[in-house]
Amino acid sequence: MTDSARTHHTFNWLPDIPEYHGLWSWVTSIDHKQIGIMYILSALFFFIAGLVLALIMRIQLMLPMNHFVSQDTYNQIFTMHGTTMIFLMGMPLLFGFSVYLVPLMIGARDMAFPRLNALGFWIFLFGALLLYFSFVGGGAPAAGWFSYAPLTEKGFLSNPGVDYWALSLLVMGIGSVATGLNLIVTVVTLRAPGMKLQHVPLFVWMAVTTGWLVVLSLPALNAAIIMILFDRLLNTHFFNPTHGGSAVLWQNYFWFFGHPEVYILILPGFGVVTEIIPVFSRKTLYGAGFMAASTVAIGFLSFGVWMHHMFATGLGFSVLYVFALSSLLIAVPTGVKVWTWIATMWGGSIRFATAMLFATAFIIQFTIGGLSGVTFAVIPLDWQLTDSYFVVAHIHYVLLGGMMFAMIAGIYYWFPKVTGRMLSETLGKWHFWLMVLGFNGTFFGMHILGAFGMPRRVWTYPHGMPIVTGINFFSTLCAFLLAFSIFLFFWNMIYSFFRGKVAGDNPWEAWTLEWCCSSPPPPENFDRLPPVHSRRPLWDLTHPEEVKQKVGGHAS
């Protein structure tokens, strides 16, 4: 099953895999592994871009009435920061993980539509470059990552920034739909023989649910973007109140996409953590059925909560109340996952490799983010806290403390598989602790800033407010600590890529199919597959007595 010669090279990454040599093989690749890596590398690149933008924002906010950047520059920067982190970092990161891992985890040779997979990546990259071109092409967008109308109408923002924003997101949205549908079709049609749907690893299950969310929610964004482009370029009046259009209509369309989008961002992270925790606890996943069911529940419910982003727009009592209830309800399946992860660790034999540290911190930080989210579902509290720094705290706890920590855990976990080398555990632990301190120091205080009345998207705040000033100052210091920890992470990845310990096929003694091919996998992925009777084919190989008992029945 493995070629041991391949794992004992010293320097060059893939000396024995000629298919991956040379830039041209990457540019023309339709191999899901290469495409996955390109997605992830792009995401990491834009993560740095977004981080730099964030640091500029934090320096500006360090002191009251600061003039590090002008208000117009700041407004472009926060717009680009949000747009970058969500569309140019989050989406390609989750797509990269998914297209790399899903075929391996189901024992397939590639995605169902390999060329479409490549197209999805290149469309994304083109859209991303188009967005950043705006900096030199007439001005970056400055209407926030959510571009509310009528501020985005030509009368208020005449430079082409919003047009760049709209076109690049439209282009990337098309690529996303292609990748989403590719993931679904792959899992439905290409599973290894014997792998029933209930045997797919939970990461795959979550990737498929994410695929559904992408296929059904991105078109809503595309439609809204076309309408605002028409308003700006063809003089239509969809969102222009002075001609009878509706500003609230934009919000409805945007959030009908926007809410499923945040679940698109987090579900793969849930999947990563759900793969890591059992392996490092040496126990099977507890309550896998509820875990799968709660994923589907979240998928459905995510289409029914969007107006909770609009509670202060004057919606009418019944509408408000329905969405308050649905938003409270969606917390339940999310909570089920947290209990499941803890129960999986319970009674286990837990080893704290860096991946597991990040997964554990994820649980705590995501819980905080989730609870601040539930706070918003309680509408009168939302009426106080929406559009304040409390929201900024919430989104960074779920997206940075949540999603990013989970994906970093995933990188520590799967880096050996992808590159054939281990990441340094020493650097990893430094990275982890500094990142936990830096992240929480930067963002926890923002809950308090919101409580003290600081609104979002402000480039400065008044003198004479010592608590607000103090928290902002402290947050900026911690932001630099956070940035330093990210630097350590990148250093770890670069150093380990060239000099890391050789990994072997299955350094973590994990159980899913991707661990039974070599590290890195050959182009065809597998020449032979073990029999698949459960979610943990490799565990079954070492526990034949248990398999005999269970074959034909309900498996783990």
């Binding site: 399946p333 947290v338 837990i350 080893r351 704290f352 819980t367 009345g453 402000v458």
Partner: protein, 315 residues
């Protein structure tokens, strides 16, 4: 700018009946959230310590689940959130009852980047700083003149968006006197950050006094400097945007200046209101609030000074 005369606004202070209702809901929510959080952290801490891998550990028992436990941990949070839902209903109904046919007491209009306040019952129009009588059951109507803004004074209990083409309502019953600060809370362009709200809650007698001042048409200036200032004001482009009652300046596009001398601040609480600041503001407001819609007037200092003296006499 010195804001020390105002309260530190926070969502835990309450200056209205509505805010007081919301504050106890906040505390309940905080307790629920803390409860969940401590449970998660406690269980995790226990698990991390008790079940840490030790040398010689065998493979642990591979428990797959316990349906009863899983149902319990689904149902119990569900019931807790349902309870929160019931509380939400109660507080919502009390804080934001149906408007019905009720006419607003104050109409608040958000502009880029200032606030206009109209009192329909008294025929008063003013800008940026407004007065409320303590103890009165007030209803505000919120409108947007250009883009979406949001009216938020944390001590008053809730924010509400001011959306062009889509008027909204806000109920306020002030129960405490003082000066309360707020800010625009929906990103509205360049100077979203410097679009502050100054709400003065006063006794009913003082409120009617203030209304009377607002009704009073300022006398013509008597000293030479103010007269010169008025001539300059009326002859320049100021009249195209601003209104001063009793003069030929009747435009409504910018803050009403009829009683500007009674305000503590200029430019929606960006700088203190005095002759020196106002002079500099008139010369070039962009130096204080870059991106605001009043252009760089490029006036010589002496002209601006005279205009400022004139305006500071408009009480």
């Amino acid at each position: 700018m010195d804001l020390s005369y105002s309260q530190i606004s926070s969502i835990f202070h309450f200056a209205t009946e509505q805010a007081r209702t919301i504050v106890w809901l906040q505390y309940i929510n905080l307790i629920v959230c803390l409860g969940f959080f401590l449970t998660v952290v406690g269980l995790l801490a226990f698990a991390i310590i008790k079940f840490r891998q030790r040398p010689g550990d065998k493979e642990p028992e591979q428990t797959e689940g316990d349906t009863k436990l899983e149902i319990a941990w689904t149902l119990i949070p569900f019931l807790i959130f349902l309870a929160l839902g019931v509380l939400t209903f109660i507080v919502m109904s009390s804080v934001n009852p149906p408007v019905g046919k009720r006419q607003p007491d104050i109409i608040v209009i958000g502009h880029q980047f200032w606030w206009e306040y109209r009192y329909p019952r008294y025929g008063v129009v003013t800008a940026n700083e407004f007065y409320l009588p303590v103890g009165a059951d007030l209803m505000l109507e919120l409108r947007g003149a250009d883009v979406i803004h949001s009216f938020w004074v944390p001590d008053f209990g809730q924010k509400m968006d001011a959306i062009p083409g889509h008027p909204n309502n806000l109920f306020l019953k002030p129960i405490r006197k003082g000066v309360f600060l707020g800010q625009c809370s929906e990103y509205c362009g360049s100077q979203h950050s410097l679009m502050r709200i100054v709400a003065n809650v006063v006794s009913p007698e003082e409120f009617y006094k203030w209304i009377a001042i607002q009704h009073h048409v300022p006398n013509l200036p008597t000293d030479k400097i103010s007269q010169h200032g008025q001539e300059l004001f009326m002859s320049k482009t100021c009249v195209q945007c601003h209104n001063i009652a009793g003069t030929k300046a009747v435009a409504m596009a910018a803050p009403d200046l009829t009683h500007i001398a009674t305000r503590k601040t200029i430019g929606a609480a960006v700088i203190e209101n005095n002759v020196e600041n106002l002079t500099q503001w008139i010369i070039n407001p962009q130096q204080f609030k870059p991106g605001c819609l009043m252009p760089n007037m490029r006036l010589p200092e002496s002209e601006a000074h005279d205009m400022a003296v004139y305006l500071e006499n408009l009480k």
